[in-house]
Symmetry: C2
Subunit: 187 residues, 2 copies
DNA sequence: ATAATCTTTTTACATAAGTTAAAAAATCAT
DNA sequence: ATGATTTTTTAACTTATGTAAAAAGATTAT
């Protein structure tokens, strides 16, 4: 059984009615390693919760790949602007490992927000958190010396280190794999 | 009279009771050019709306200044994580021009969220927008060639161009003023 | 008007990091 | 185990950008 509701309640507890209503709308979705979860230009219809697995959220630009974020166990994720405004996504989301998710449709999300004040509160806190996480990421990107970027990354993402390719880490940091390799060899 | 409520209703309309309740809690605050609105380590107590003026939100790192965002007329702003979690701010906010704001205390913000579903909905949408804006900023920062960063900036912030110093624009783009000057001379 | 201050540009130099290509190491499939 | 593929490291070269300092240009105050 998914920890969607458990994690949600940790962030902001639901009323019993809201919880029941939500539970009836959740749907499990599984993705194989390498499978696309949401492609470019596709409208993201779901708020996902990762029960198991690892996902990368990225985009292409001039033959390079830029990874905005990795999502792993017990994290909520969606394509923020595509989901919120139901507009085509500029980003791509794929599974880096076999991944099991629990999904909530956008229409259900909106209905739950309207019907249940406590769910709306959860949603508010979820987006506030997302905004803060993104702000922190901006700050990290400013600290531009690659060596420090990498040091910061391994500190924050130690649990993911052996699950990620170096190329993906470099794409996340916005540097080339060669540069990352050089950094690693330096100490 | 402030456009706080007008702009808010554009994003997400309030119930009449919520609007009345909110109105009674808003307080005008004015800042002189150069005045600190929220300093480092200070807990940000307010959600601000800018009626007039311009503000920069930044931090120091090793003798350089990094500007996360400018805020001008008709924009809501706060120190996201400091306001949300009522923790000390890592960032500094100062007025770049004489600035008039309308502020809402954090305690009032929370009470309004709890009392009025429609206000909570506004808050959810506000934070969703903030998250999206920040994500867009991350994307911009990845597009690392300085010339493009600047081109993008003048496209998006044309209305601010003649109100900002080049040094501040460089700090926003994460490049040195010398580099920015070079870019400008190139075409 | 003139001086003083602030802002922007330019120059010279050093260095971090990108690109390309190849070698080395690790992982995977048969 | 062996070969094939993927991943990581290393090397050679080029370029963009930071730093420091000075010059040029604007702005402000007296």
């Amino acid at each position: 059984m998914s920890d969607f509701i458990k994690q949600l309640n940790l962030l902001s507890p639901l009323s019993p009615e809201a919880e029941e209503d939500l539970l009836a709308r959740l749907k499990p979705m599984a993705f194989k390693k390498g499978q696309v979860i949401n492609k470019e230009e596709q409208i993201c219809k779901k708020l996902f919760f990762i029960d198991k697995g690892l996902v990368k959220h990225y985009y292409h630009q001039k033959d390079r790949i830029f990874i905005l974020k990795f999502f792993a166990e017990n994290q909520f994720f969606t394509v923020l602007d595509s989901f919120t405004n139901q507009t085509p996504s500029k980003f791509i989301t794929i599974a880096l490992e076999d991944t099991e998710t629990t999904g909530l449709d956008h229409t259900d999300f909106i209905e739950l927000c309207e019907k249940h004040h406590s769910f709306e509160t959860f949603a508010r806190k979820l987006f506030a958190m997302a905004a803060i996480v993104n702000l922190k990421r901006i700050k990290e990107m400013f600290d531009a010396e690659s060596a420090e970027l990498y040091a910061e990354f391994i500190k924050e993402n130690n649990h993911l280190l052996n699950r990620l390719k170096l190329g993906d880490i470099a794409s996340y940091l916005g540097i080339s794999q060669v540069t990352l390799s050089r950094i690693r060899s330096k100490k």
